[in-house]
């Protein structure tokens, strides 16, 4: 596991409580998972993505990440329509581990850009991660290894 000071949190993206990042480019929002999330999950072996054209609400589950440890849902940071999925992840899901901020999962046409503005910035997200670090000794054992 990485220590807090080894984790990478860029300044130019926004963050969610569920550990997704979102970045706006030319009016569209790219979504992925944070360095903390990929480190917690371990090797990602499969990314289940929605279909282009699907629409989701803010906070709605749009796919799952399969890691060696668990299956985790991924939630859309902003409401909108899926314009594109990152097809490269179908063959190389490990890109999410290697470079979580390059390995975007979906590109979304946001229904309401103000939802993006309301996401956490780096400082707020770092606080959230710090609090999770502090509470880690209480984490439950993974059922598969009991």
């Amino acid at each position: 596991m990485k220590e807090l000071n080894e984790l990478n949190f860029p300044d130019d993206v926004k963050y969610t409580r569920e550990h997704e990042w979102a970045k706006i480019e030319e009016g569209n929002v790219f979504v992925g998972i944070t360095d903390y999330a990929q480190d917690q999950l371990g090797d990602i072996v499969f990314v289940e993505m929605p279909a282009e054209g699907d629409s989701f609400e803010e906070g709605e589950e749009f796919g799952t990440l399969e890691s060696v440890k668990a299956v985790s849902e991924i939630y859309l940071p902003v409401s909108g329509e899926i314009l594109a999925i990152n097809e490269a992840l179908e063959d190389e899901p490990e890109m999410v581990n290697k470079d979580p901020y390059e390995a975007w999962i979906v590109k979304v046409k946001p229904a309401d850009v103000s939802e993006f503005d309301n996401l956490m910035d780096k400082t707020a997200y770092l606080k959230l991660v710090e609090s999770e670090f502090d509470s880690e000794p209480d984490s439950e054992p993974d059922s598969e290894f009991e």
Binding site: M1, K2, E3, G42, D43, V45, F46, E48, T64, E66, V68, K69, A70, V71, D91, E94, N97, S139, P141, D142, S143, E144, F145, E146
Partner: protein, 425 residues
């Protein structure tokens, strides 16, 4: 939380640690569980399994006691000819209660006529010792000693294992010959009369066993706890140029699932040990269904009428189902068929277009395409209320997601565990 002698090393290396039974153990190291799994298929992997337990059973009554408590016919258990267990050999079996339900699985090693070594799972030392002691009253001449937390255990697994081990053994040419699958040499303290010692170049005494729980070629090493860290580091340094990796419990879980090996208390447990892929852990049965030897639980198994069937499966892609109270197995229409016991991803395998399973270890001659890149397949065990045949499909679901999997006789092809030692040194 209890720790093994390697705990400090795991933490220092940045392992992802998690509770496993009473111990805090590494799930994976920074290389990640996928690379660790693949290292065991291609090169070698090193596992800290010091949380497992050794028990000695000594005295003239030792064999009778083990015959009574362990699910094997010790007089008919070795090889295709079903020869008696002899010194230097080990057998896999289960400890059952009177109802034929599993207390734990384990290996019984015959060290000498009057000295047996039993290896069971983490936390089970006390329970199995108690079970043996209770029945030793009938035998009177056997003593049972629980070695919980006094031994270190390192598993070196993968095709390069013998070559790496050879470099640190005092007498590799002598030790690494005539050592078939499920045989062993040496003892973990310096001198036991009648046992030819196995030593490393630095003098460390080992019990070296040609076993493991990954389905791949390799060894389990038992040694005194305080010597574990030194030997662990020596193996990693020596094996570095052969691609050895330290491996955590996640890789161990995915490797053993692909090798169709059960995890005690998960795939086998407090239900009758019957109708599962592991009946090789029992003696042979005659036409009347009677076992060739009696042991605790044998009568219950002879009388058992099948209600549940434990079956191996493999999926069609790496997607897994997390086991929870909500997860279950169903047919194509959603009718409930049973429960999921294990669901892991074997990262070394994939399917060809016709559905055939291929592993990284499969030779091109045996059908592995030259450009084969394994994507991994989910695999594991289900317990169903209906017997299904290999090739039939079921669905794993948590009520939301649904994953189609195929009932299988075997999962990861071309495993190396049984390869002849002389081809591996």
């Amino acid at each position: 939380m209890k720790t093994t002698p390697l705990h400090g090393w795991h933490v220092e290396q940045g392992a992802n640690m998690a509770p496993f039974g009473e111990y805090e153990m590494p799930l994976w190291y920074p290389a990640g569980a996928k690379q660790e799994h693949l290292a065991v298929i291609k090169n070698a992997g090193l596992f800290d399994t010091s949380h497992m337990v050794g028990i000695t059973v000594t005295g003239p009554g030792a064999r009778t006691l083990l015959q009574h408590c362990f699910s094997k016919d010790l007089e008919h258990c070795l090889g295709p000819k079903k020869n008696p267990l002899v010194a230097g050999r080990a057998v896999y079996g289960v400890f059952l209660n009177n109802n034929g339900c599993v207390i734990d699985d384990g290996l019984v090693y015959e060290v000498l006529d009057h000295l047996y070594f039993v290896v069971v799972n983490s936390g089970m030392g006390g329970v199995i010792t108690k079970q043996l002691e209770e029945h030793s009253e009938k035998v009177l001449t056997a003593a049972v000693c629980d070695l919980t937390d006094t031994l270190g255990k390192i598993d070196i697994q993968g095709p390069e294992s013998a070559k790496i081990l050879a470099k640190i053994l005092e007498n590799p040419a002598k030790v690494l010959t005539d050592m078939p699958y499920f045989s062993f040499k040496g003892w973990f303290t310096d001198e036991v009369e009648g046992v030819e010692p196995v030593r490393l170049k630095d003098g460390t005494a080992l019990l070296l066993s040609r076993t493991g729980y990954t389905g791949e070629f390799g060894f389990e090493i038992f040694l005194e706890a305080e010597k574990t860290l030194n030997v662990w580091q020596m193996l990693l340094e020596t094996g570095a140029d052969r691609g050895i990796l330290a491996c955590g419990l996640a890789a161990r879980d995915s490797l053993r699932a692909g090798a169709v090996l059960p995890l005690s208390h998960q795939d086998i447990g407090p239900w009758p040990f019957a109708e599962n892929p592991w009946l090789f852990a029992l003696p042979e049965r005659d036409a009347g269904g009677h076992f060739s030897a009696k042991f605790i639980g044998s009568e219950a198994l002879e009388a058992y009428i099948a209600e549940e069937y434990t079956l191996a499966f493999a999926g069609f892609d790496p997607r897994k189902m997390v086991i929870s109270e909500k997860s279950f197995v169903c047919d194509s229409e959603g009718n409930r068929l049973g429960i999921i016991l294990t669901c892991a991803t074997d990262m070394a395998v994939g399917r060809l277009d016709d559905g055939t399973l291929v592993s990284l270890a499969t030779s091109e001659k045996d059908g592995r395409p030259a450009d084969f890149v394994p994507r991994g397949l989910s695999c594991g065990f289900v317990k169903l209320t209906k017997a299904l045949n290999p090739g039939e499909c079921v669905w794993l679901t948590d009520g939301k997601r649904k994953i189609k999997v195929e009932i299988r006789q075997d999962i990861r092809p071309d495993r190396t565990a049984r390869r002849a030692l002389k081809k591996m040194v």
